[in-house]
Symmetry: C2
Subunit: 423 residues, 2 copies
């Protein structure tokens, strides 16, 4: 059982503690509500820096924050690690793996995950970068494979261990490719002097004709140049269709040997059981009206990446980025607190992506920039949005340390032991 | 294959990069040797602080250090992640899971692990604290069980989730009990206000009549007092013999309900296949002469916890502590470099254990102390022995932070995802 005490205040159940759900919870917990926050993890994850965890540039604990610590002084907030299994919106009840609970309002803020568009083979053979645990798996795989590469004299086998293919030329793919290229440049010669650095190839495969399709043409071009200068093989207009015998295969029939393929080519909404298919789009995003209320489900809301607010100007809804999630969380909080129905309006502050040291691209409202100052801006914006003073200090310290030394000391392969009793 | 290049220098193969093996490698790599360092992990672990990782007081990366970084500028050092499977000392060859390798000298520095004295039930149902991975498992279990405890109204079931039994009253058991008691006192009311703190019981079970049998009577008494003041149930003269249906059972028939039992009641040597039984003691420690050479195995050495150098004064060999391992590593390095045979002499600087904030016990050569100043000394000594400036800074920062705020933000349950391709 979830074991939530009775309360005289209306009960808001929030599923998911990402940017959207957490922001909503933080706002409404100051008012007369009982807040029940359900998540699979006991922490909030700062997604934009997952790739730095995967590259062993940051520790997990620097970019995640325990939920209980955020709400330590809020007696009206009840955090539970639970999975939702069904919604009965007629009776305002959800079923979870820890029993049922009644709600006054239900908010779905479950985010998005990797979309393989039904391709099981790619799903099984590639790495995602949509959760902290996935990032750590990738880190372990990169480091383990480098160790393995040292222990073979077979050229082809070694290629499999050291080459990496990234699928998807959006911000995640671009940032990851930049970080990998820098690892090759600065770390490999130091840590793996026995390997020939020139044998290491990093491929970035993008189906469209340019990188960063969500940003300006200028930003895409600059990112491509930066990456090429770092030695990344940028393959445009190529679509990865299969993975077989250790080879990535494109639609045109190209073959690249690589044990590690990183899939950053699409996301889908993490809809939950009980939301009827008719309320979802093909990519599992939940259709909401301009108040973020789910179609045909009164008192049920969806916010953030999982929600899709279609309109004439935005036939595919808002971009699935942190800013939209944060703003929708805040906006819904206002409507709930004031018991109003004001439509959501997205304020676009712009977007940015970093490509290794000293280089980034930024499309801001009034101007675009590329290079060093964009990179400084990127650092500042990301540092500012991290939760917790301690995290800010530790991340800043790590960044400065890496900037000065060109070298982190986090390249360790950690795998907690499985005890039969621990699930 | 291990893929070690040929060299004109004598080849020293070291198995294990703990205090003993790492210290030896660091000393001899400056001279004309080819050093092959084999370990299961790609990092050195600082064992004395495992319990703080388990308590979510420190991050793994703060107390471990990547081996490759230590030897970045030593071209004559070859690090491989491999398991030794056999030794053929007639032909100076070892077999590993990555093929065979010939040596001129072989050094076994594989350390020690938890000893269950053959009790399979206890082995399967208790947590050890002899590796980083074990420490993380324990951390995950403690945090997961606290979450579970919130979701039950059954008193007995909840007791299972929140009570903890520690078996063994040596330094590990004492330090862990102190840290757990402080977690109960300072963290529980903040993070788990919905739980009744008074229901949480911490038991420290010791078979002997006093705590810290390896230290002075005074230290043992002081530790007992400190722990009792913190609310720990110290049970002396009790022997845990079984674990059944969620209950710890002592020889006298006492039963304590607890899902988490931590076994800190004994260690055994991690001997490796190929060392004949006649060269080992009953607790799997390898018998060595006063030069650390293994009995009946010329050119094979054992140092640190796995080695047992028996003498008239020391029928059970030296204590299995970091200081002995470090000194044996240095001493063997000297003998190898100078090609001499000087017997090993242990310089005992004393021993210490900490019990939570502000309290520790220390038996030094010339005097004994208990309380605040012993604690400051403990901090200083441990900080000093950590490898890496970055680690020292981060641990110091964490300790200061925890000291001031009484609160860490590391209480997160992290489990890297298993990809089929990742072993």
């Amino acid at each position: 059982m979830l074991n939530i005490p009775d309360s005289k205040y209306p009960r808001i159940v929030i599923v998911g503690a990402g940017f959207a759900g957490l922001n909503l919870a933080k706002k409404i917990c100051r008012k007369d509500f009982q807040v029940v926050l359900l998540d699979k993890n006991n922490y909030h994850q700062f997604q934009p820096l997952f790739y730095q965890v995967a590259m062993a540039g940051l520790e997990p604990s620097s970019i995640i924050f325990p939920l209980r610590k955020i709400f330590q002084h809020k007696k009206n907030v009840h955090i539970r690690i639970a999975d939702v299994q069904d919604i009965d919106h007629q009776n305002r009840r959800i079923d979870t793996d820890h029993g049922e609970i009644y709600y006054d309002k239900l908010v779905i803020a479950t985010g998005a995950s990797t979309n393989y568009f039904g391709n099981k083979i790619l799903e099984e053979n590639t790495y995602g970068l949509k959760s902290l645990n996935q990032s750590l798996s990738l880190r372990n795989a990169i480091l383990t494979d480098l160790e393995q590469a040292l222990m073979t004299q077979d050229y082809d086998e070694r290629q499999g261990f050291i080459d990496i293919v990234i699928v998807g030329g959006g911000p995640t793919g671009v940032e990851l490719a930049g970080a990998l290229a820098e690892m090759k440049k600065y770390i490999l010669p130091k840590d793996y002097g026995e390997l020939d650095r020139r044998e290491v190839d990093i491929y970035l495969v993008q189906s469209g004709e340019r990188l960063l399709p969500g940003m300006s043409e200028k930003a895409g071009k600059a990112a491509e140049e930066f990456l090429k200068k770092l030695g990344v093989h940028v393959l445009l207009g190529k679509r990865v269709s299969d993975y077989k015998d250790g080879f990535v295969i494109t639609k045109d029939g190209d073959k690249i040997r690589a044990n590690k393929v990183i899939w950053a080519a699409g996301v889908k909404g993490n809809t939950i059981p009980g939301v009827p298919e008719s309320s979802c789009l093909r990519n599992s995003r939940i259709r909401v009206d301009e108040y973020n209320e789910v179609l045909n489900m009164p008192n049920v809301y969806a916010i953030g990446d999982v929600a899709c607010m279609q309109s004439e100007e935005l036939p595919y809804g808002h971009p699935q980025v942190a800013q939209v999630a944060i703003q929708q969380g805040s906006h819904l909080a206002k409507n709930l607190i004031k018991n109003t129905r004001k439509p959501f309006k997205y304020k676009d502050y712009g977007s940015m992506a970093t490509i290794g040291r000293n280089k980034a691209v930024a499309d801001l409202k009034s101007f675009k920039m590329q290079g060093f100052f964009a990179w400084v801006l990127w650092l500042f914006v990301h540092l500012r949005s991290l939760i917790g003073f301690r995290n800010k200090v530790v991340v800043l310290f790590n960044w400065m340390w890496n900037y000065i030394t060109y070298d982190q000391s986090l390249r360790v392969i950690i795998k907690p032991e499985k005890k039969s009793k621990v699930s």
